[in-house]
């Protein structure tokens, strides 16, 4: 039983294709492979070895859409293909020679056959493999399923029934009682950047489970390490405080002190960037906790809580534009920073437009989060000053670079680059435009398997990553927004608990409507894997209790 969506569906063959297959099997496809040529831009086409310009055998017309009949190798233009189908029985299936796509003359439509696509892909592989992996990292030539299953890491799965400290109370479902985990954080002096990120961590399901299940034991930590400062211990203190049932705002002073020990260069009273703080914090946690420090390049085996929750893997493909040779590298990432398209004129729209155009003012590709993700994974032509040495051509060539996501994290942080620092103008500015973001996000199209598949024409063929057990569907659970100017702004966080939205503005926690969140100016958007989100919602009805406290049972009206 898998809740993972299949990336594509194979359409059933039309009767004509089915009967062609019955009669000929794969013989036609196999013999066609000899005439398949792959252009440097990666597009497959069919050409005969006599290198005469192909033309229609009936009318000699040589304009577009020439088809090769798979039954008799007759080449015709579209009109003569159709008449050929009518006149010759059983000669319904042809192939578009410019695009290597199957065509059914009776259905008068493009048709699809996994066996044909496989034949095309095998040609790709045969032609390009001798030059090294050549971008084929994502192609499983051996069709056996990868036995590497990435299970959810134990400890991050909430398993509250196991924890002895757990008490489930039906009272807590009463509307008047707000879920635990909501508590204001005092601003200690321009520390809203810190509070906003802390509120995210407090409500990230895998982190919540980790700390509430006492996976970071402060006593054990103190004994094990001579180092007085431990960010995780301080975070554990915050979790205990926030989940204690006490609703008066908490001052994360010890945490600030600890963090300034770690990030000495950021220790100042001035306003900091929340994203910078977030990364610095994860870094601090990793440094202390990471047992296998950078032993594996992809960070996959680092078991520190920061990596287990936030770490993903990015794939970068650089393709030579002259010969098509591709080299692939992988880099771990803790978040994804997305550019907003500053050239897009439609981005600077006003809220009034939303009324008139009934939603299609979002037509601008980058005034949406999806648009930013498209931009992130779009092939980018590297400038002339960035010509890279191509192993195949043995000289510097213009190149195309394309990013994709090889492995998604449990919690996905999408950071919107709203702060532009121009070295040329020696000035910084904030991009204030509204960015639409969804509550449910499917990251499927941005996975390496999807991007690589698209590069090869979306052929029906197994690509590595297709069989992943991890779903690509995410649900939003927190949004950090920045309002005001670059130098003197204010951060607040919206968090979503049991489908209710709450605004965490330093000491003040208020309930807000979903619309407020949708219309807000997002700076960092946090998504968690869908099944973790739904599981977490169920568990919010159960309250874990720390053993250090008295058995404190909140009653209705305590909030």
């Amino acid at each position: 039983m898998s809740s993972v969506k299949s990336p594509y569906t194979v359409p059933p063959p039309c009767n004509h294709l089915a009967s062609y297959k019955l009669k000929n099997g794969l013989a036609g496809y196999t013999s066609l492979q000899e005439y398949l040529r792959i252009a440097p831009n990666g597009k497959p086409a069919i050409s005969k070895p006599d290198s005469k310009a192909p033309g229609c055998s009936s009318c000699n017309g040589s304009h577009q859409r020439l088809y090769l009949c798979l039954s008799c190798n007759w080449i015709s233009c579209i009109d003569h293909t159709l008449s050929h189908t009518r006149s010759s029985l059983g000669h319904e299936i042809a192939v578009d020679i410019e695009r290597a796509e199957l065509y059914c003359g009776t259905c008068r439509d493009q048709v699809y056959d996994p066996d044909f696509d496989r034949a095309v892909m095998c040609k790709y592989i045969r032609e390009m493999m001798p030059r090294g992996r050549n971008g084929f990292e994502g192609i499983s030539i051996i069709s056996e399923r990868s036995s590497k299953r990435r299970r959810l890491v134990p400890g991050l799965d909430s398993d509250f029934s196991v924890s002895k400290q757990l008490i489930c109370s039906g009272d807590q479902r009463a509307k008047s009682c707000y879920p635990l985990g909501l508590r204001g954080l005092n601003n200690l002096g321009n520390t809203c950047f810190m509070n906003s990120v802390l509120q995210v961590l407090l409500n990230a399901p895998p982190l919540r489970n980790y700390f509430l299940n006492n996976k970071h034991n402060q006593d054990a930590c103190r004994k094990a390490s001579a180092d007085r400062f431990c960010l995780l211990c301080d975070i554990d203190v915050i979790f205990s405080a926030v989940f204690s049932g006490d609703r008066s705002p908490f001052s994360p002073a010890q945490f600030l002190y600890s963090w300034w020990q770690h990030a000495a260069n950021l220790a100042s009273y001035e306003q900091q960037d929340a994203h910078e703080f977030f990364i610095s914090l994860l870094d601090g946690i990793h440094e202390k906790e990471g047992k296998a420090k950078d032993l594996n390049k992809d960070g996959r085996d680092c078991q520190c809580i920061a990596h287990r929750v936030f770490s993903g893997l990015l794939r970068s493909d650089v393709t030579c534009m002259a010969c098509g040779f591709t080299s692939t590298t992988y880099d771990p990432c803790m978040d994804i920073s997305l550019h907003m398209d500053t050239n897009s004129s439609l981005s600077a729209d006003s809220p009034n437009k939303a009324n008139k155009s009934s939603g299609n003012n979002m037509g601008s590709s980058s005034s949406t989060l999806i648009g930013c993700l498209d931009l992130f994974t779009r092939p980018e032509k590297l400038g002339s000053d960035q010509k890279l040495h191509c192993q195949n051509c043995q000289e510097k060539q213009h190149s195309l670079k394309q990013l994709s996501i090889r492995r998604l994290p449990l919690v996905l942080c999408l950071h919107i680059k709203r702060f532009e620092h121009s070295l040329v103008r020696k000035a910084s500015r904030k991009i204030d435009w509204y960015l639409q973001f969804p509550f449910s996000l499917d990251m499927g199209p941005y996975l390496s398997s999807s991007i690589v598949r698209k590069r090869f024409g979306n052929r029906i063929f197994p690509f590595e990553g297709d069989e992943s057990e991890i779903s690509s569907e995410f649900e939003i659970f927190a949004v950090v927004t920045h309002s005001g100017m670059l130098e003197s702004g204010h951060y607040i966080t919206f968090v979503r608990l049991r489908n209710m939205w709450y605004k965490c503005d330093d000491s003040w926690v208020t309930e807000v409507d979903e619309k407020t969140v949708r219309a807000s100016q997002c700076y960092m958007v946090f998504y968690v894997q869908k099944m973790l989100y739904y599981k977490a919602n169920e568990e919010l009805s159960c309250i874990p209790i720390s053993s250090q406290r008295d058995a404190f049972l909140p009653v209705v009206g305590c909030c």
């Binding site: 577009q64 002096g189 100042s268 509550f439 000491s507 949708r518 219309a519």
Partner: protein
């Protein structure tokens, strides 16, 4: 694309040829796109389209509702009551001990105090 005509208004042969070539190239590109979109749609690779459109619609609706002045709008400002029925002063006035020097400090002034206390003031600060 304007083409030079001869005296009788007929296009010269070369112009006709280039017009044909251009037309062929354009047609070929159009069919490329059509073929790709056809495959995408048939294989169900665009199944998220409806969900995405729904999200866009909800966001547009949200923005429209909120820009409408007749709506209550969010109450901003620091004199609001939170969900637990509490109010708080603009500057947090909890008092606790500084873990560096032991002094009693008001919460809202803790960061600037700590900065001086930890001696960070004179070191080059990075914004």
């Amino acid at each position: 694309m304007s083409l030079p005509n001869d005296k009788n208004g007929n296009m010269s042969f070369n112009s006709q040829l280039s017009a044909h070539l251009f037309s062929d190239l354009l047609d070929s590109i159009i069919v490329d796109v059509a073929s790709e979109c056809h495959r995408t749609a048939r294989l169900g690779l665009d199944c998220n389209l409806e969900i995405e459109e729904e999200e866009l619609r909800l966001s547009a609706e949200a923005r429209a509702r909120l820009s409408d002045p007749s709506n209550g709008g969010d109450v901003n400002g620091k004199y609001i009551v939170d969900i637990f029925g509490q109010t708080h002063p603009p500057v947090a006035n909890d008092i606790f001990e500084c873990m560096n020097c032991g002094q009693s400090i008001m919460a809202g002034r803790f960061a600037p105090h700590l900065e001086k206390c930890m001696g960070k003031r004179d070191s080059p600060l990075q914004l």
